[in-house]
């Protein structure tokens, strides 16, 4: 890890831990939780789509599956309340991720655009399942999870906040590890030229499935924490296309394929989104505002903040270098 990387990571962790201790107004912590939730989703979206170049629009289906899996586990296995459900999360995440592999395998047989559409279809399939599998999900009347009584009233939100923070860090750690590993090298070569990668003997499908598994693993856990936090979930809210597009937008805004891009995107957009929701929510105008922000990001900054800044830095450096060279030549 470079020194800069360590500093950046350290600063993020410190700020993340300190935030709810400094600002303990419930609404602020609530926005903090949402920001972290979107950050975790965006980082794990990036972990698959940013690194492979295959755009998935079905991520939120696994968010919903995670949410429902935790809810159903509560109902049928009495995992208790308090902190226990958090310990069950990794199992939920891993199960959802394994269960998603066959579908992912089918979807990955198709190429870029078709893949995006097929994954979007997954989103609607899972939403329908949530409506229709009444005995498990209670359909449109929604599923209740027990409210944890042990967390106290004053700092009720904190455990959820730290759980989300933990998931963001986990997702970042996975991305960081991938970027340094053979897996990352293989994924990047697939993103750049998949046919060529096949010709070199890279097992492209298996490699993509590993990245897919990891992204679903994190996503499903995020869904689980979210469900436990809200204690009430229903099909439209747990498999919400708006959440999907939010995570994608944040990744685009921050910069695809970068480590910190999705986090930056979430830090900018979630507070903005919440602001719009509060001020325009009643009139449905927030959708228009959201669409406008979206358009601006895509049309003005399609490559994202971090790559744009990086390019700017490189260009300035080069300009300085050539200017220095010219000066020397003049002497």
């Amino acid at each position: 890890m470079t020194r800069n990387g360590l500093l950046r990571g350290g600063a993020f962790v410190a700020a993340g831990i300190a935030f709810p201790l400094l600002f303990n107004a419930a609404w602020l912590v609530n926005i903090g939780i949402l920001t972290l939730m979107y950050a975790a989703l965006a980082v794990s979206w990036n972990l698959f789509s940013g690194f492979t170049g295959y755009i998935t629009l079905g991520q939120v289906a696994f968010f919903g599956l995670g949410a429902y899996s935790l809810g159903i586990t509560f109902e049928h296995f009495g995992i208790g309340s308090g902190y226990n459900p958090f310990y069950v999360l990794p199992i939920v995440g891993a199960c959802v991720a394994f269960a998603s592999l066959p579908v992912a395998w089918i979807a990955l047989r198709t190429r870029a655009m078709t893949f995006a559409i097929v994954t979007l279809t997954l989103l609607f399939i899972v939403q329908q399942l949530a409506f229709n599998l009444h005995s498990l999900t209670h359909g449109s009347s929604g599923l209740m999870l027990p409210t944890p009584t042990t967390f106290g009233v004053d700092n009720y939100d904190r455990p959820f906040y730290y759980a989300m923070l933990g998931l963001v860090l986990l997702a970042l750690l996975i991305c960081w590890g991938i970027l340094r590993s053979k897996l990352g090298l293989m994924l990047l070569s697939i993103r750049e030229d998949e046919e060529k990668a096949r010709g070199l003997g890279i097992r492209v499908t298996g490699t993509k499935l590993v990245a897919w598994w990891l992204h679903v693993f994190v996503t499903a856990m995020v869904g689980g924490v979210w469900a436990y936090y809200l204690t009430f979930i229903y099909p439209e809210s747990s498999v919400d296309p708006l959440v999907m597009i939010g995570a994608v937008l944040m990744t685009f805004l921050g910069g695809r394929g970068t480590l910190w891009g999705p986090v930056v995107g979430a830090l900018v957009l979630v507070p903005a989104q919440q602001y719009m929701l509060i001020h325009l929510g009643g009139s449905q105008l927030y959708l228009v505002g959201y669409a406008a922000v979206f358009m601006v990001v895509l049309l003005v900054l399609p490559r994202g903040i971090i790559p744009s800044i990086r390019d700017g830095v490189v260009r300035t450096r080069e300009r300085q270098r050539t200017r220095g060279g010219a000066a020397k030549a003049a002497v």
Binding site: S181, K182, L188, G201, V210
Partner: protein, 243 residues
């Protein structure tokens, strides 16, 4: 000499065009075999069929004595048959060393290990050095000149220790200095036991370097034999001059 690659009756149609038409030839083990023919005679298509990038309508391919039922680029590369492309294909956003290491065939157990381990880097540098581009090792591959990209692509396919390399016009669009370099590389690697099948338009180079030479015209094999035999074959002259 035993045949390393045997092509039998290979056929591929694109709509009305028969790009490769019942084509049969063999690549003897240890040879540098040339595949020549006028533009559009089906050389690249033949490569695509052999390496599994396109599905043949008919015909059979045998590699190293075993029939290749459904040619698949991944499996073939892993069993020692690899290729380069007519338009050099490299990973532009990766560095040269990363390009080289990406071409190493990895077992599943090593996907979570470091991207570039020290011995792998050393091996990559060694090969890059042989190709004269070691000083660019940590450059972005996208910044290379076209000729250098061809060298990199060639060097990279060697990382996996193949037994047969298919080169699609290795010297096209490359400056003369690099052409000599490529010729020398092929010679040296061949001396070390590597077999080549080369598509090449530079006839002087083919005559110097290759034996046997296979001539394609309109998808069918016109001649196959020693370079001097083929050169004096009137049908070959016709095919080149007539069209």
């Amino acid at each position: 000499m035993t045949a390393l690659l045997e092509i039998d009756g290979l056929t591929k149609r694109f709509g009305g065009v028969t790009a490769v038409d019942a084509c049969s030839f063999t690549v003897p083990a240890g040879s540098v075999t040339a595949l020549v023919g006028p533009n559009g005679s089906g050389k690249t298509t033949a490569f695509n069929l052999i390496t599994g990038y396109a599905r043949a309508d008919a015909g059979a391919v045998r590699f190293d004595g075993a029939a290749v039922r459904r040619p698949d680029p991944i499996r073939l590369a892993r069993s020692g048959l690899t290729r380069t492309f007519q338009q050099a294909r490299i990973f532009p956003d990766l560095t040269l060393v990363e390009n080289m290491v990406a071409a190493l065939q990895q077992p599943w157990t090593s996907v979570f290990t470091r991207a570039v381990r020290r011995p792998e880097r050393e091996r990559a540098l060694e090969l890059l050095d042989e190709f004269g581009i070691a000083r660019l090792a940590d450059e972005r591959a996208g910044n290379l000149s076209y000729g250098q990209k061809k060298l990199l692509e060639f060097a990279a396919v060697l990382m996996g220790d193949p037994r047969l390399v298919l080169l699609d016009e290795p010297t096209a669009g490359v400056n003369p200095v690099l052409v000599d370099q490529i010729e020398e590389r092929i010679r040296e690697l061949n001396a070390r036991g590597l077999t080549f099948l080369v598509v090449e338009h530079n006839m002087n180079l083919v005559m110097r370097l290759c034996d046997p030479v296979v001539v394609l015209a309109q998808g069918t094999k016109l001649a196959e034999g020693r370079p001097d035999e083929v050169r004096n074959d009137p049908r070959v002259l016709d095919a080149y001059l007539g069209g």
